[in-house]
Each structure stands twice: as structure tokens, then as C-alpha cells.
Symmetry: C3
Subunit: 215 residues, 3 copies
């Protein structure tokens, strides 16, 4: 059996949809915990799901933005957010499934960020940055809007997974022919690393200077 | 008597000026309540008044930005912010007048967002999103900079008014000839709905999952 | 001895490097005080150092962004942030030196903002705004991400220095031939003003409406 570039596109598009749905649901639940109204819940879901790609494209001057070109993504995330509300108990009970879907979204977002970043700039550094931006900045804005310190800055290797996928994928595009199999390997590696970190509760060590200040 | 397109332009421009002045004053007062200095007060006034249109234009890639093309708007908002400070007691006593001016700003911003969004993308969904972005995001950034959970996410139909104006105006542009009279009707409807919600303290129901978490 | 335009370019580039290094270190230390992991520390360092110029260029539609065109700046700031961590005690003991480097960065950022703003728009108002945006917005985002009210809104003339450099430099470009010596004078003036304000703990008066509200 051979995996064609078309199979890959279909798979990635499916993963992208899973990713924005999962991210939209995390956004809706985070907003619901802060006593926002329905409008706030949907807004934060949309920003969580689509914000990373939006910031990436603004930084790279790639227009039109994904959701401006394909507004149906807005409808998909809105529906996911509205479904998350009555189903919140189910979503929380299925926490494990949910984190798996979220991890699928993370690796897809990071991969897409690396590919777009590298295509525009041909720089491994920028491609890696764009993998991180696409993968994590939606969640960062979600946490700012909910008035929390962004969770992603101290959460189980979340950003590191985006970083590694970005770096490997960009190196692949720079030094080898970009092949479907190598990309699949990178995505599986990132997915496994994220699930492993979640299971073992592995974090980067926290830095703590609480009592150190310039004052 | 006939209302011409020119009358409409003059009216809208007047409403826009009222809107940025009212928004600038709310920004200045919000900043003053957080012990900022004069510079902080003016900055937050400018962001509150001009931030929504700025974000809309960046998302749509419409340049130059309004205030970059017409820097006098910066002077107008700065003066409004500086006037709000000595007049704060007056402004607060005239709370009702002030909320009416703010509502005029809201409907104007939402209308302009819908028109620009539809002109660029010919999508009703995007035009509606841009009405909301233009109408409310200045206030959202104001609240983030003042370290509050954005008020607009739980405030009397504020965002819903922007949503409805955006949706109706975009539908008007898609399905009918865009006529002055229909637009006036939409604006009056939005204005009345906002005032009604303020008077009756009508809110969307708040979602509250405080005790529900993934942890 | 004559100061050539080339000398000036080399000096400014050196000052720019000093600025992003100093800003990156303040970002790293601020993040470290909030119990973030290594990734969070580096991210906040990058945003503090490069965020101001990024926002300026997005507002003016000037692409590619500085660090997208010259990714080595990302490496420089990352290394500075990582060095700030083990050296935190040294950095804090050398507080005075550090604030001087930070002041050098401030005047350089403000100057570059004014020059780029004026070149693109030929408006003194916009050039002044861009001096402020470039000089202070990195620090503002740093404080938002660390969930603080932005310090710059109540800190010793920080923003005022950026404002004055922007205004004078833009006026210079509008009304006289832009000469090297006048620019040097403006930069020295801004530097001296900032150090004077730091030494004497001079602040703009704080506005405080804590007990005044619309409600």
C-alpha cells in the first residue's frame, strides 16, 4: 500500500477539523468557568481554535486569513462551542479522549505552521517559531481573556512538542526532499511525546524568582 | 424630503466622531480607576476608541489604517480623554447621556465593520464577524489592559447588538440593493435594542462552570 | 572629527542589539517571577524585546518583520534570556547598569519607530505614535502575559521619553534636513531625561478614580 500526497492532504484536513473542534471546546469550557455569557463563550472558542493560525498569517503577511477565505470554519467552531455547553459533563468525563483530540490538533497546527513558515521565509528558525505560534497562541489568548497566567507556559511539554515538530519538519524541508513518510513519523513522534508527558505528568522545570525583584 | 447618500455619509461621520469620543472617555475613566498616569490614560483611551477598527483592518488586510490615514482622530480622542479627567464627576452624573452616546458609537462601529467586511470578502459570515470585532474589541482590549475580565462578555446585549446589525446589514448588501432607508432602520433597531437592554438590565444568561474543571 | 552616516548606522545597530538584549533579560526575569517554565521565559523575553517593532510594522504594513528578515535576532534574545536565568543574582546586583542598558534600548527603539513611522506616513503624529509603540509595547505585552497591570503606564517617564524622542525626531525630519548631530542631541536628551527620572523617582501624577464608577 502506498500513501499518496492526496491521502496526506485528506488526513491533514481531517486532523485540522478535529483540532479546531477540540480547541473550540476547551475555549468554551474555560470561558464558561469565568461566568461569561453565550457570546463570550463563542468568542473565546473562536479565538482559541483559530487565533494561532491568524497570528501566524499576520506575522507572515499571508492573506486572506484561513477563516476569512473559508468562513465555514467559524460555523464549525461555533457549533462545537455550543455543543460543549450542554455536554460539559460528558466532555469532562471523557477527559482522556478529549486530551487525545487536543493533542491531534496540536501536532497538526504545529505541522501546518512549520510548512507555511518555511514556504514563506525558507528559514528553519522562522518555521520553528511559526510552528509554536500556530500550536500554542490560541490557548495563550484564551487564558489572557479569562484573566489567567497562560497555562501553556507551564504545561506538560505542550510548547516543546510544537517546537520539535516545527524544527524537524523545517529541517526536513531544508535538507531533504520533504517526504510523506518522514512527516508521518514526525507527527507520530510529537503525538506520542505529548501523550507520554500527559500520562507521566512531565513538565519542564519551573523557574521561580518570586522573591527576587528589581525593587 | 429625501435622504441622500451624501446626507447619510455626513450623518455616519458625525456618529463615528461621537463614537470615538464616547469610547475614548470610557477608556480614560477605566484607566483612571486603575491608578495609571496621564500617559496610560491617553493610551487606553486611544486603544478603546480606535482599537476595534484597527484589528478589523489588520484581519482584512485593509491599509492604511483609519487613524494612520487621518491622524486627526488621534488628536480628537486624546482631547476627549484629557477632558474626561477633570470632568469625571460630570461624566458620571451624566451617566445616562453617556451610555446613549456610547450606544450611538456601538451601532456606528458595527455598521462600518459590516460594510467594510462585506465589501472586502462578500461573505455574510465575515461581515457579521467584522461588525462584532469593530464594535466590541476596543472595549475588550481596554479591559485586558486594566486587568479585568472583559466586561463586554457579560454586558447587556452589547455584542448581540453588533452581531444583529452586522448580520442584517450584510444580508441587505447580499440580497437586496443596499438602500439608505433600510440601513437607517437597522441602525435605529440596534440603538433601541441596546437602550432597552440597558434600561431593563437584560443580559444573556451567564454560563457558570466554576466547579467544573478538567483537573 | 566628523560623524558620518555610516558611523551612525553602526552605532544605532549596536544600540539596537543592546536594547533587545536588555529587554530580553527584563522579560526573562519578569517571567521567572511568575513560575513559568523555560519555554515561557524565552517566549516572554522574545515578545518583550521584539514585540514593539512587530506591532509597529503590522500597524504600518511594513513587511517582512525585522526578525522574520533577520532571524538571528531571535537567537540573540533567546541566548540573553537563558543567560539571565543563572545570572539573575548578578543581574539584580547590577540593577543600575541594567537600567542604563534598558534606557539605551528605549531611546533606540523610540528613534527607530519615529524614523520608520515618518518615512511611511510623513505624519508627525503617526511618527510620534510609532516611537511610543516601538519603545513601550513590548513591555506592555510582557506585563499582560504575566497578568500585571502594565508597569509602563505608571513608571518613571518611560513612555514620555519615547514620546518626546518621537516628536522631536519627526519634527526634525519634517522641518529641517535630518542631520546626524541633531539626532545625536535628541537621543542624548532622551537618555538623560530617563536616567534623571529614574534617579529622582519622578513619575507623572497618577490618576485615581478608584471609588468612582458608573455603577
Amino acid at each position: 500500500m502506498q500513501i499518496t500526497s492526496h491521502d496526506m492532504d485528506v488526513t491533514l484536513h481531517t486532523l485540522y477539523l478535529i483540532g479546531i473542534i477540540a480547541e473550540g471546546m476547551t475555549g468554551a469550557i474555560a470561558a464558561g468557568r469565568k461566568k461569561m455569557d453565550l457570546f463570550g463563550v463563542v468568542t473565546i472558542a473562536l479565538i482559541t481554535a483559530l487565533g494561532g493560525g491568524t497570528i501566524r498569517n499576520i506575522l507572515l503577511n499571508v492573506y486572506p486569513l484561513t477563516w476569512v477565505e473559508t468562513p465555514i470554519y467559524i460555523v464549525v467552531v461555533t457549533v462545537a462551542a455550543l455543543l460543549a455547553l450542554p455536554l460539559v459533563n460528558v466532555v469532562i468525563k471523557l477527559r482522556r479522549l478529549f486530551l487525545i483530540l487536543d493533542a491531534l490538533g496540536l501536532i497538526t497546527f504545529a505541522y501546518l505552521g512549520a510548512v507555511i513558515g518555511y514556504s514563506v521565509t525558507h528559514s528553519i528558525i522562522i518555521a520553528t517559531i511559526m510552528a509554536i505560534v500556530t500550536g500554542v497562541s490560541g490557548g495563550v489568548i484564551r487564558d489572557i481573556l479569562c484573566n489567567d497566567i497562560p497555562l501553556v507556559f507551564r504545561s506538560e511539554l505542550y510548547a516543546i512538542v510544537a517546537f520539535l515538530i516545527g524544527l524537524f519538519q523545517a529541517a526536513l524541508m531544508e535538507y531533504w526532499h520533504n517526504t510523506v513518510y518522514a512527516t508521518i513519523f514526525i507527527l507520530c513522534f510529537g503525538f506520542a511525546l505529548r501523550l507520554f508527558a500527559l500520562n507521566k505528568k512531565i513538565n519542564l522545570p519551573l523557574i521561580d524568582y518570586k522573591h527576587k525583584d528589581f525593587d
